[in-house]
Amino acid sequence: MPIGAIAALFFFTIRQMLRDAKFWAVAAVLLLPCALILTIRYFAPPIKSVEPLWEFYHSAVQFMFLMGLLPLACMIYGTGLIGAEAESRTIGYLITRRLRRRTVLLTKFIATALVLAMLGDAALAALHALTVTGHDWPSLAAKSGALADWNPMHDLTVYLGVTALGVVGFLAVFTLIGLLSAKPLALSVFYLVVFELVISNLPVGARAYSLIHQLRVTAAGAIPRLTKLFQLPDELTKRLYPAGGSGVPAALMIVGAALLIAFVLVTIRELTPAKVARD
């Protein structure tokens, strides 16, 4: 196993990612919720109890961050993992060397996932800090019933893990999409709408195939009260979001399947676009 070559490609991918303007555009998009929260806290009248804060925090993380911005960031990077190099024709340098094609793909995937996970967690932490800190906590807790004992730090640690899992999951799926079609944008939007919007809300077994559902199961497993947010009838909630339950194994299965297919595709297909000129 050419460890030196793998390490070189790993750190090269990270350095190129951080140097590219695309990274800072994606970072800005991930930090949008924070800007929103800042404006709202500045202008809003002081809150009287924990409930509105709890609801705003979890809906911002669940619906805006995990379901919206994170998949978008993973789409931009996932579809371009191989496509970007092929388009700039620099892919030729990477696949005519010491590393097999699948190793190139895996190394770039892990490097990209690492950077995106850290970026996602940083954005999440910023969101957390801007929402939760700066309140007169004891007086709020006194006036809020069941949520008085809410420990935001515990929820943050859970969400940091869920975000990382989300990044790995979405990036794997979009890497596969990038290899499946020359126009990955259309296919990605189709996947997001069908899997992450429609199927994830159907009361049917197919939910398991949606990453968002698995992320919710993982979060709900560690934060039981979270299910209140999904407004589902009780017996359905218990079946779908069991306390202590976890979507990690199912999510990792999706990741594994996506990567395996991607390995096969990257091995059998020509990645260098052929330049054809005819008289």
Partner: protein
């Protein structure tokens, strides 16, 4: 005396014509941009389908005129509900419809403008995103700047391409609907009212052309990859709308009618259109209780503030694209 020489065609012949003034090349840029876009079948179908909802407006005008002729009878009930559903103005039981016609027509156009925003988003993304980006990617700028074309002429030409497509989506179908409506519904006495409505509709259409054109050109001049421009354009249009919704829900009204209410371009344009079509005054003048029509109106933001935000944004976009194009013309366009 014919100078018959075999390879006459292959001899280089000088040309004695005269070249026009340099500034008059921007129409050529417009014609070129429009024809190139219209070559794509998808763009053509998109343009056709985008006109349909506006033509339904003339259908609404016809229903209004029908209601006037049959007011007080049994059928009126059905027509009231129909108009109420579409215009979200509850006018059931009103008999003196003649004075209402003007405000009802204006409300129809407001509804149409809100709906057409969606089409503007798509059509401008399709035809506008690549206008400068593709020139950069194909390194075609030397063609423009080795000829006596100035950056301003270049930008004016490219902007007019976007403006003409936005006009095809908003302006022209609206004027057609207006024409159809007057033929179907109004007699000669309504022409004065129709003329002023036509002017207001054109003005609001123009605003959309200016803002959309400037925004997409600024984005298109940043990168040579058209896909990033499309994503950027969709983001500029949609994200602020979501943010505005959240702010409107979680902040008190006295804040959200001020500067904080003008975050999204779409909402600003709707506010300006309401002001231009004088809908708020029109509905208030009818004497109907407020709750009957406030659903038809957007969030009550001061139009002046919305206009300032739009103006500032457009000026910034124009300045940015102008600076980028001047830089491209300076460095033989290597991005």
């Amino acid at each position: 005396m014919t100078t018959a020489s075999a390879d006459r065609a292959h001899q280089y012949q000088r040309w004695q014509g005269t070249l026009g003034k340099a500034h008059w090349t921007w129409p050529a840029i417009v014609v070129n941009g429009v024809t190139l876009s219209l070559k794509h079948a998808k763009t053509r179908t998109m343009l056709l389908t985008s006109g349909v909802p506006v033509l339904t407006a003339s259908g609404v005008f016809y229903v209004i005129s029908l209601l006037e002729s049959v007011v007080g009878t049994e059928q009126a009930k059905g027509l009231y509900d129909f108009l109420g559903a579409i215009l979200r103005i509850d006018i059931s039981g009103i008999t003196r419809l003649a004075e209402f016609r003007d405000v009802l027509w204006r409300s129809t156009f407001l509804m149409v403008t809100k709906f057409q925003m969606f089409w503007v988003l798509i059509v401008v993304a399709r035809v506008g995103a690549g206008l400068i980006a593709n020139d950069l990617k194909a390194r075609a700028l030397p063609i423009y700047f080795s000829k006596p074309v100035t950056p301003t002429t270049y930008l004016l030409g490219k902007w007019t391409v976007v403006a003409s497509f936005v006009a095809m989506v908003m302006l022209i179908p609206s004027l057609i609907a207006l024409g159809l409506g007057t033929v179907l519904a109004g007699g000669p006495e309504t022409w004065g009212q129709v003329l002023s409505l036509g002017v207001d509709v054109s003005l609001s259409g123009l605003i959309v052309c200016v803002v959309a054109g400037a925004a997409v050109l600024a984005l298109s001049s940043i990168t040579s990859d058209q896909r990033y421009v499309t994503v950027g354009w969709v983001a500029i249009c949609i994200l602020p709308i979501l943010a505005q919704r959240i702010i409107n829900e979680s902040l008190p009204p006295e804040v959200t009618t001020g500067w904080l209410g003008c975050i999204s371009l779409r909402d600003d344009i709707v506010v300006l259109t309401e002001r231009l079509l004088r809908i708020r005054q029109g509905l208030a003048a009818t004497g109907l209780p407020a709750e009957r029509f406030n659903q038809a109106l957007g969030h009550a933001v001061e139009p002046a503030k919305a206009a300032v935000v739009l103006g500032a944004f457009t000026a910034a976009a124009i300045f940015m694209s102008w600076r980028r194009v001047v830089r491209f013309s300076r460095t033989a366009a290597t991005v």
